[in-house]
Amino acid sequence: MEIFLQQLINGITLGSIYGLIAIGYTMVFGIIGMVNFAHGDVFMLSAFIALILFLALTQLLGIASLALAFVVVLFASMALTSLWSFMIERIAYRRLRGSFRLAPLISAIGMSIFLSNLVYVLQGPRNKALPPLFTEVIKVTHGGGYDVTLSLKQVLIVAVTAVLLGGFWFLVQKTSFGRAQRACEQDSRMAALLGIDVDRTISLTFVIGAALAAVAGVLYIIYYGVINSGDGFVPGVKAFTAAVLGGVGSLPGAVLGGLLIGLIETFWAAYFSSDYKDVAAFSILAVTLIFMPSGLFGRPDVEKV
């Protein structure tokens, strides 16, 4: 029971990170119907940006307050990652709308290869490790010689995720941008006829997806403390799995899918085998796509002739 509770806490933390990345996949897929394969690498890039900014703030500027550094790093890496994603959409994807079916995906794969190798070339092949941050631990319960703990960073991750998802929900549901975004998702040609700037809406969608991925990147570097230029791939695929599981195009689905993937992965690692935890996520991806392609909340994909 204690182990279960501990794994539940760990799983929800991990799931929050996956959920944040998954939103980027699901929004982009919803609006232009492409799998943004480079999104995982955008996440990795944001973690690197966060790492470097954190070091710059603490070492070069000598900021002692961890909380202040965290807030600055969070917003700065959201902004910088958004800029990257904005430019990626402009350069690699915009001209490919209406091209042949696989062109955007291949372009995105190229972008993914480019990003991970760019970071490799610029930052070197080694793992980059931060000293542990927010290490305070709260003991929740104790039983069977096993402490169930809740660390400050876990609280921080879940809280930041919840707050930002709230803001994001407000943005999509209550603002004019959100209305335009939802309209483009349903029928972009009709939205364009009604005077919505579809290109701008798509750009903003990429920006928002990247900003949330950047939050995930900052939280990831705080949680694990280590990042490598190859680390975008596996979390990217898992977050994509989360988006598929929740139903591609559905925002609550992406968050729920992220939590589910996080929980499944942690429980799998705890009770079965940690060697095969990635296999669990990849298998869920395959099984969901084969047997339940519209996921939990997705609209069925109707083929029109």
Binding site: L55, R101, V237, V305
Partner: protein, 463 residues
């Protein structure tokens, strides 16, 4: 760095005066410079390094950031200040001149002749010991990639199924030979068809449930399968010895005569003086023969009903279904063919290396093979071969240059730059000519006078 050149639409209108055009160009250029600065800011400006107590510290590289921003500024300014003349109306699809086809055929024959001569030329130039490196690292390695590229071309180029886990079948073939030969002592010649058949079997087994998915889902699921196979190979240590891999795989034999010194070896059989390079030359011609066989098969395939069905399926799945083509069976055939070729290539790979480990079968390997197909122009056999020579041979050549090591330090690894360039090239290719460099398809059936169809004009449905 990639200059953000084609990003902002050129807003200068023809009647605007020169000075306002320059002012506009300056604003655009300033924007581009600022954006480049923002992109480069933390990731290029500081390099993270570890000191002796394993703590990270920052090394600043501000000149590089300034150079990048300045480059973006200048390029953008030139593009905006001196706009190209408005593009002409797209020319009508002209029939490519006959000389084009003849040139392509000539290039093909010349290429094959050059390949056949390659080991002999290398032997003549570097002697039996010096030629080993060239025949092995350049000849055999590039040809293996050509073989893989042509195999994947059947799946991606002909049938239009994006397979991101192609390397899984390569791994199945390699491990099939490795395990069968080390455990049961089976010879390479028995294992080669078995490796192909096993990979094809896996292709069918994996393909059967996933091939009814739409294109990009299929790509992701094949990626997942590829990763699952790699993880299983890594962790099933009882069978595969995990990351340590399987070593001392028997070397290839000349139809039973091993390439060893002594009375029963290949050299003795032909009365030659023993040299290790014989084995490599034989391997080279073997891979070349396999590749040419696959090429011949593909060219024939395009004239067969099943090959036509592949291409029809790539263009419009719904139309195919309504014409009564069994789409699942057709896709499975393409998938199994590609897998079988990868499996045999895997057996050849294991025989070349005498060693297999899961690290040879990562997603990056799949991506490299896919890049060969994409950059070579999906569907073009010659293009794939040229891409393999350029990408694989190019980075091997960079590795050979000692001068570069002196500049970049001993840790210089051109493979990383290779993938960086490959990534950019894939994006550029999709933006520029998504149907590939040589996107001319001749219809297989025509009335009286053949009319070539330019790929760019071919519309497609969303199947």
């Amino acid at each position: 760095m990639q200059g953000p050149a084609p990003i902002f639409p050129n807003r200068s209108s023809p009647d605007s005066s020169v000075s306002s055009r320059f002012r506009g160009a300056l604003t655009e250029a300033a924007k581009a410079g600022a954006i480049m600065f923002g992109l480069a800011f933390p990731i290029l400006a500081w390099r993270t390094d570890q000191n002796f107590s394993n703590e990270l510290y920052l090394q600043s590289r501000w000149p590089a950031v300034l150079a990048a921003a300045l480059a973006a500024f200048v390029i953008r300014f030139i593009l905006a200040a001196f706009p190209r003349r408005p593009a002409r109306a797209p020319a009508k699809a002209e029939a490519p001149p006959r000389s084009h086809a003849i040139a392509a055929r000539f290039a093909g024959s010349a290429g094959i002749a050059a390949l056949i001569a390659f080991p002999i030329v290398m032997l003549a130039m570097f002697g039996p010991a010096g030629a080993q490196k060239w025949i092995d690292n350049f000849g055999v390695q590039i040809l293996l990639y050509v073989l893989l590229g042509w195999g994947l071309n059947i799946v991606v180029g002909l049938a239009g199924l994006l397979d991101l886990g192609y390397v899984a079948f390569y791994a199945v073939g390699a491990y099939a030979y490795a395990l069968l030969s080390t455990h049961f002592g089976w010879s390479f010649w028995v294992c080669l068809p078995i490796a192909g058949a096993l990979a094809a079997l896996w292709g069918v087994a994996l393909g059967l449930p996933v091939l009814r998915l739409r294109g990009d889902y299929l790509a992701i699921v094949t990626l997942a399968f590829g990763e699952i196979i790699r993880i299983v190979l890594t962790n099933w240590t009882a069978l595969t010895n995990g990351d340590a891999g399987i070593s001392s795989i028997p070397r290839i034999t000349f139809f039973g005569w091993p390439f060893v010194a002594g009375p029963h070896g290949f050299a003795a059989l032909f009365g030659l003086k023993y040299a290790p390079v014989h084995r490599l030359i034989f391997l080279f011609y073997l891979v070349l023969a396999m590749a040419l066989l696959v090429n011949f098969l593909t060219l024939r395939l395009r004239r067969l009903p099943i090959g036509r069905a592949f291409e029809a399926l790539r263009e419009d799945e719904i139309a195919c279904r309504s014409l009564g083509i069994d789409t699942v069976a057709t896709k499975l055939t393409a998938f199994a063919m590609g897998a079988a070729i990868a499996g045999m290539a895997g057996a050849l790979f294991a025989a070349r290396q005498n060693f297999v480990s899961p690290t040879s079968f990562t997603f990056m390997e799949s991506a490299t093979i896919l890049a060969l197909v994409v950059l070579g122009g999906s569907g073009s056999q010659l293009g794939v071969a040229l891409a393999a020579i350029g990408i694989i041979g190019g980075s091997e050549l960079l590795r050979e240059l000692d001068g570069l090591k002196a500049i970049f330090g001993d840790a210089f690894d051109p493979t990383q730059y290779r993938m960086l360039i490959v990534g950019i090239a894939m994006v550029a290719m999709m933006n520029w000519k998504p149907r590939g460099l040589i996107a001319i398809r001749k219809p297989s059936i025509f009335l009286i006078k053949p009319k070539p169809v330019v790929g760019a004009l071919a519309q497609e449905g969303h199947g």
